[in-house]
Symmetry: C3
Subunit: 305 residues, 3 copies
C-alpha cells in the first residue's frame, strides 16, 4: 500500500505540514467530517481550532485533512478550514466518494476512513477523532468504511471508542477478526463514547503515551496495520450508559417510523441525542475531542522518541 | 497484486488479444458463466457473439475468458467459445475453483470474479457483464466472491447492478464498506437488473463514457480498485419491480420447500423467473448484455484517450 | 505480504528449524494453543510430542511456534514447549495480541491464525492443526481471526474442518467468498471435526498428498493464499453427528443461561463435550491431531518434490 506515493497532482500539503515533514517533527492528522457535520455552528469551528491548538501546545504539528479544488489537502490553513464549517455544499467523503469528489472538484469533508487513508499515504501515523464508525445495529449487516481502512492502513487512531449508536459488541468482534489491537487508556474496558465503559474488554490497558507507542512500534515492525487507543470521555462530561441507551432506543424507533435510514441515520440519531440531553452531548463531544487530540499528540511525540 | 505477471504457463492469449496488446488497443473482457449457465441454448452462443461484435463495432477488442486444457485463455476463438456453450462437462469456476480446474485440465467457465481477476492480471481494465453477485438474502450471511474481488482488483465493471435475487440493500452497503464507487449511467439510483431502479442511490450519476473514465482514472491513480458502472436495462425490455418481487418471493419459497440451496439456488431462481415471465426475462437479459458491452467498449476507448 | 522478512529482533528459529531451512528440508508448523488450552494435562504435552514425532517419522521437520521472552520462536525445543503445557500465565495470542504479548514479553500460545501468519513469514507452507476457527453460531456476526488470515497468507492447513461448535455452513460460505479452496481427504464432503461428514461439499476430493500438493502449487503460482485440506477424524474415534449436535445444543443453552460468551465460550463448550462424551472427545482430538500431522508431513514432502 505504501509503495504508492503522494507525489501526484491529487495531494497538496499545507505550509506548516510541509515544514514539519522537512524537519521530521511529529504530526497528528485530524478529520473534517466532525467540522462539517458533527457539531452545530459555531462550536464546530471553535473545536477544530482548539484541537489544533492543543496539539501545538504539546510540540506537535496538526494536519487537518480535507478536499478542495480537486486536491486532498493535508494541513488546511485557518481560512481553508472555515470553508468546511459553513458551506452548505460540502460533500461527506468516504473512500468510495474520493475519486468522484476529486474529479468534480467538490469541497469534501473527510471521514475517519478517508483521513486515515490519506494520513497513511502522507506518512502520518497518528489520527485523533471523536468516535469511529463500526458495525450498525440491526439488519442488513452494515459495516462502516472506517473498519476495513483500519485493517489495511498502519495508523494509530485515538478515539472514545466506536460511536455509541452502533452495535458495540459486533464492532469489537470485527476488530478482533481483523487483528486490530484495542488499547484502553487507563481502562480495562472499551469506552462507549458518551460513557466511560461499554463493559467490553480491551486487549491491553496502557497508562502512558510511551506504553501505547511501544506496542504500536512492535505492531508496525511486524507488518501490522491499524491500532486503536480508546480513551474514556472526561469524567465531568460523561453521561450514564443506561440513560443514553434509553434515548438511543427511542431515537431509533422514531427513525424507523420516519423511514430514516442509510446515510441519514447517523446525523439523525446524533441530533436526537443532543436534543434529549439538552446539549450535554455536544459539551461532551467537545471535551473528548480536545482530550483525544492531546493524547494523540503525546503518542505521536513518543513514537518519534 | 499486479507485481504478479501473466508470464507463466497458466495464461494464454488469443491471437486477436495478443495483437491488441501489442498495438495498445482498448480491450473489454467478457465472462463465460453467462454462456455456459446463464442463458438457454442457442441464445447463449448467439448473445456471446453479439456482445463481441458490439464491442468490435466500437473499435475495441473483445477478450472472452475461459479455462481450457489447464490454461486461462484470455480471448477465446469462436471455435473455443463453442465448447462452453454446449458441453455438459463445463465447471463453473469461482476463484477457489481456479487451481483445481487448472490442475485437472477441466473446461472452466469463469464467473465475474474470476474474469475480473484474470483481466486485472492481463492489464485489461474494463469488464462487461449482466448482473454481478452480491450478498444473498436470508441466513447464513453469504457473500459472492465477486465482491471481495471488486475490492482488490483495479477493474471497471459495466453491469445492470447486482442480480435481483440478491439482497440489494445489503450488497450496496457492502460495496460502500469496501470503498467501491457505484456510478449510475444516466441515473441517480442503482438499477435492479430486471428493472430500471432499485430505489437505492448511486454515488454519482454519469452521462457519458468520458465522465465515467475520468472518475475511474482518479480512482486508480490513488490506488483504488474496483468501480461499477450500473446501467438500467433497455426500457423496452425492463420488467416492473413489483411483479419481479412477487415472482422471486414465490420462487424462493418453492426453493426452500424443495431444499434447493447454495450453488443450486441462483440457476433455480433464474429458471423460475424465465418460466414465469414467459421468456421475457431472457429477452431482457440478452438486450442488457449487449447494451452493457457497448457502454463498456466506449468507456474502454475513453480510458485510452 | 512476503516482502516483509523475519530478519528482525522479533523472530527466533529453533536449532532444528535453522538447520532444516539451511538444508531446504520440508517443514510443518504447529500451533501452541492446543497445548496450552485445547487438551487436559498431561495429554496436552504428550500429544504435542507425538505430533512432532509423527512428522519426523515422515522425514519432515516439525516447527512448533510460540512466544517467549519477547520473541516469536519458530521451532520450540522440548524444554521450551513444556512451559506452554503447565504454565498458568500463558496468554492466548491471536494476531491482535501479538504486539502486546511481544512488547510485554509474555509467554504466548499461538492460535491457528498467528501460527499461519508466522509460518508464512518464515517461508513455511504447511500447518497441521485440529479444527480451525470460523463463523460463530448466532448473533452478533462473529468471525475467527483464522479466516481472514487464511485469506491473506499462502499456507496449506491440514485440519478436521472448522470446530463443530461453529456455524459450519456460514464458515463454508465465508471460505468460498474469499477464494479459499477446500480439499477433502478421500471425501466429497467436509468433515465436522468430531464426525466424518458435515454434509457440506468440498471443492475437490483428493486421494493423495501429491494430488493436494499439485493443486496448492497452481494456487500459489497464481497468487492464491490459504488452502485447506480437511481430513475426516479416524473412523475408530469419530462420534455420530446427531449425538454431538444434541450435546452442543444443550451446552450452548447452558452457556447462555450462565452468561458465558466471547472468549470464554469455546473452552466452555469443549469442556462440556469432553464431559458428556466421557472423555471420548479427548481421545478423538488426540487421534485426529496425530493423523493430521502425518498427512501434513506427506504434503510438505510432496510440495518439495
Ligand atoms: Mn470474535
Ligand atoms: Mn454502510
Ligand atoms: Mn456463497
Amino acid at each position: 500500500a505504501m509503495g504508492f506515493s503522494t507525489k501526484n497532482a491529487y495531494f497538496r500539503f499545507g505550509p506548516h505540514v510541509k515544514e514539519a515533514r522537512a524537519r521530521r517533527q511529529p504530526i497528528v492528522a485530524l478529520e473534517t467530517v466532525v467540522v462539517a457535520f458533527g457539531l452545530p455552528r459555531p462550536a464546530n469551528l471553535q473545536v477544530a481550532h482548539e484541537m489544533e491548538e492543543t496539539i501545538r501546545a504539546e510540540g506537535v504539528v496538526p494536519a487537518t485533512i480535507g478536499l478542495l479544488d480537486g486536491q486532498i489537502v493535508v494541513g488546511l490553513t485557518p481560512a481553508e478550514l472555515e470553508r468546511f464549517a459553513g458551506d452548505e455544499g460540502v460533500r461527506k467523503v468516504s473512500r468510495r466518494d474520493l475519486p468522484i469528489a476529486l474529479a468534480r472538484r467538490q469541497i469534501g469533508a473527510t471521514t475517519v476512513a478517508t483521513t486515515v487513508w490519506a494520513a497513511a499515504r502522507a506518512g502520518i501515523r497518528v489520527v485523533a477523532t471523536g468516535g469511529i464508525g463500526g458495525v450498525h445495529r440491526g439488519a442488513p449487516f452494515d459495516v462502516s468504511n472506517d473498519l476495513p481502512t483500519l485493517a489495511t492502513e498502519p495508523v494509530l487512531v485515538v478515539c472514545a471508542g466506536p460511536k455509541a449508536i452502533l452495535d458495540l459488541r459486533a464492532t469489537r468482534e470485527w476488530l478482533e477478526t481483523h487483528g486490530i489491537p484495542i488499547l484502553g487508556w487507563g481502562m480495562e474496558t472499551m469506552p462507549a463514547f458518551y460513557s466511560a465503559s461499554s463493559g467490553l474488554p480491551v486487549d491491553a490497558r496502557v497508562d502512558s503515551a510511551e506504553e501505547a507507542a511501544a506496542i504500536a512500534r512492535v505492531h508496525w515492525t511486524l507488518g501490522g496495520k491499524g491500532i486503536l487507543v480508546t480513551v474514556p470521555p472526561p469524567a465531568d462530561f460523561a453521561l450514564p450508559r443506561e440513560r443514553l441507551e434509553t434515548i438511543l432506543e427511542e431515537a431509533m424507533a422514531e427513525a424507523e417510523r420516519a423511514g430514516v435510514q442509510g446515510w441519514a441515520l447517523t446525523p439523525f440519531l446524533l441530533a436526537r441525542v443532543a436534543e434529549r440531553t439538552g446539549g450535554e452531548s455536544v459539551a461532551l463531544n467537545r471535551a473528548l475531542l480536545i482530550e483525544n487530540a492531546r493524547i494523540a499528540a503525546r503518542i505521536a511525540r513518543a513514537l518519534e522518541a
